[in-house]
């Protein structure tokens, strides 16, 4: 079965060459970070689960690029490495967390799915599908009570729409005028179950109707489209102090986690269709066509990104494991 981006998409915007180059660097950083992480997972240095963000970069770059993290907050799901990078967390601390080191962003006690950095306004990775939706509603409520115009963005996958708390949270957020931006990162698979097999409606944006919340769908492969929607929505939310729901259409290149080879539930043909609309490829092509960057310059940038990340990774590798006394810290016994 193949899935294609659906109609009813928002428009696009024009972005300055400088902004586009920054977007490219951010997307490359996420992509290469995930490649390195996948490598170390296979090397056995990363344990447990590893959910790669590769393929979905434009969603994070577009939405977090529209936020002001001095006043806004992020509540994330388990596919969180890319959003951590965009929140400004040092890649060293993210690698260290993945390696379970004391220098990790959660002191090595959380792992891939449980990154936290309050100083970056990043309030977690969450391992439970839909688990962050109500927490993000609470964060938004706290922001509105504080009389500030900050908003809380909450990322979750298409599978989260099948939980009861999705509908409860949208209802509460609307009822209480909570400025939480619910971003459904629809990569068309709830783990290994395709949208057609897990959703009663083919357009997820239709399942967010009924709560008096503005909703829309955006092409998550297209950085111009995501940025246009994100900036307009954030502006709207700061003025209206109301929640918003967005469905971003995108695709994950890896399986649900690295251990999942996605062999049984989707076709190579379908994967290829999405790779043809790869967000980095689309942006690179534009930069080359418009003579903003040459192919060689893009490749040089990519190599620089890899080089910098490798350096951080190597440091994290040498960092110490948490002291055994940490077993009993951060919890009341």
């Amino acid at each position: 079965m193949s899935v294609q981006p659906q109609p009813r998409l928002s428009g696009r915007t024009t972005l300055s060459p400088k902004r586009l180059q920054k977007c490219l660097e951010q997307m490359l950083t996420i992509r290469e970070f995930e490649h390195l992480g996948e490598r170390e997972f296979k090397n056995g240095l990363i344990r447990g689960y590893y959910h790669s963000y590769a393929g979905q970069e434009a969603v994070g770059v577009g939405f977090l690029g529209a936020l002001d993290l001095k006043r806004d907050y992020i509540v994330d799901h388990y596919r969180d490495h890319g959003h951590c990078l965009l929140a400004g967390i040092d890649p060293h601390a993210i690698f260290a967390e993945l390696f379970g080191r004391s220098t990790g962003v959660s002191k090595g006690k959380g792992g891939s799915m449980h990154m936290y950095s309050p100083e970056n306004h990043f309030l977690g990775g969450d391992g439970i599908v839909g688990g962050g939706l109500s927490v993000a509603t609470g964060v938004g409520l706290a922001l509105s009570r504080g009389g500030k115009d900050g908003i809380c963005i909450c990322f979750f996958g298409d599978g989260a729409l099948d939980t009861g708390t999705f509908h409860e949270s949208l209802n509460l957020a609307s009822l209480w005028d909570v400025p939480t931006l619910f971003v459904c990162v629809n990569n068309f698979y709830s783990m290994g179950t395709s949208l057609a097999r897990h959703s009663s409606l083919s357009q997820l944006v239709d399942r967010a109707q009924g709560y008096g919340i503005k909703t829309e769908q955006v092409d998550g492969q297209d950085i111009w489209a995501v940025t246009e929607a994100a900036e307009r929505i954030v502006k709207d939310m700061r003025q209206r102090h109301r929640p918003y729901f967005v469905e971003a259409l995108t695709y994950r290149y890896q399986g649900h986690g690295i251990h999942d080879k996605a062999l049984n539930y989707r076709s190579a043909e379908e994967e290829q269709k999405w790779h043809d609309r790869d967000p980095i490829k689309l942006l690179s092509r534009h930069l080359i066509d418009e003579k903003i960057m040459s192919e060689k310059q893009i490749e040089t940038l990519r190599q620089q990104v890899v080089h910098d990340l490798e350096a951080k990774l190597e440091v994290a590798k040498q960092d110490p494991l948490p002291d055994e006394s940490e077993l009993f810290s951060d919890v009341t016994l």
Binding site: H114, L175, L333
Partner: protein, 324 residues
């Protein structure tokens, strides 16, 4: 007990504008169990927030408020309904501090009545005593008062705690009245307490079962038996100090609880007595617990399902005879 709880909430709402109440029918309806009576009128809908019947999500909202520095007090109309919210309680409220390496904390209280009411006919889905579910989970503090004085001081301490607290209000004591001290005092939420001193046997209870144990101690006194009563008050952390001290003196113990016996808090208390107080015991520790059935409706069946005064008196007498 609701008067004491009401006073605690009012005082803390006044003291700290970060305190915010959430729950079903706590506001305009004025509180199903009177605990929030008058607070909506006094503090308004922004501080005393009525919620729809969405337990999982309004507990999650509490978690979100708490990590942002507010001090939410979330009411479960009955603790049975917390089963709907267990993902938020176990996976978020309890674990966020540890998972984040201490970068976030969740200063939130989840409170509500648990267990059967006083001859109330609450039945199987409204009168359960689910204490063990909460007490099992690291990351939570779990406490339960046995009288008005403790109820007020402990609830205030729970609201001021930087840890998430599950505050269990003993259903059988909800309508118990008594003078409440209107001074601003706190009672620790992690310390057991001797509620009555005695020589011959130790009765150990928590919440409503402490009150029942005290009644049993008075009965036993008529037969010339002097029973000491230990009120655990906190089930996580479990403060075994007073119970172990007491057993050194009495050499005999009976644990009383409304909860189902198997795998319950009483089982843990007995295990700790074995590990840490074995050499002070003359006879096996006995238990008087709720019968292991869903709470039945008919008055006689409900009564038979609860730990009885007579059952406690008999258990104490058995331990004095060697519990054979």
């Amino acid at each position: 007990m609701h008067e004491a709880l009401n006073m605690a909430l009012r005082e803390e709402l006044k003291r700290d504008d970060k305190v915010i109440l959430l729950g079903e029918e706590i506001g305009a309806y004025n509180g199903v169990h009177y605990v929030t009576r008058g607070l909506f009128a006094e503090f308004g809908k922004e501080r005393v927030m009525d919620t729809p019947i969405s337990e999982e999500s309004f507990v999650g909202v509490g978690v979100g408020l708490a990590i942002m520095g507010m001090r939410p007090v979330v009411e479960m109309m009955r603790m049975d309904f917390s089963l709907r919210a267990m993902d938020q309680i176990y996976n978020h409220m309890a674990k966020t501090r540890y998972m984040s390496g201490g970068r976030l904390s969740v200063p939130m209280v989840l409170r509500g009545p648990e267990g059967p009411g006083p001859n109330a006919g609450l039945t199987a889905q409204h009168g359960q005593q689910l204490t063990a579910l909460f007490a099992h989970c690291p990351g939570l503090r779990v406490c339960t008062p046995s009288n008005q004085h403790d109820a007020k001081g402990m609830l205030k301490a729970a609201i001021r705690s930087d840890d998430p607290v599950v505050f269990l209000e003993p259903g059988p004591l909800n309508n118990k009245q008594g003078d409440v001290d209107d001074s601003d005092y706190l009672v620790p939420i992690d310390k057991a307490d001797i509620k009555r001193s005695g020589e011959h046997a130790t009765l150990i209870g928590y919440g409503a079962s402490t009150a029942l144990a005290l009644q049993a101690a008075r009965e036993l006194e008529r037969d010339g038996i002097s029973a000491e009563v230990v009120d655990m008050r906190s089930l996580r952390p479990l403060d075994m100090g007073p119970a172990l001290q007491s057993v050194k003196k009495t050499n005999r113990a009976v644990v009383v609880e409304y909860a189902w016996q198997s795998y319950g808090p009483g089982a843990e208390i007995v295990a700790r007595l074995m590990e840490e107080g074995f050499w002070d015991l003359e006879t096996p520790v006995l238990r008087v617990a709720g019968k292991e059935v869903p709470l039945p409706y008919a008055a006689n069946l409900e009564e038979a399902s609860k730990p009885s005064l007579n059952g406690i008196v008999e258990a104490v007498k058995r331990t004095l005879k060697g519990a054979r």
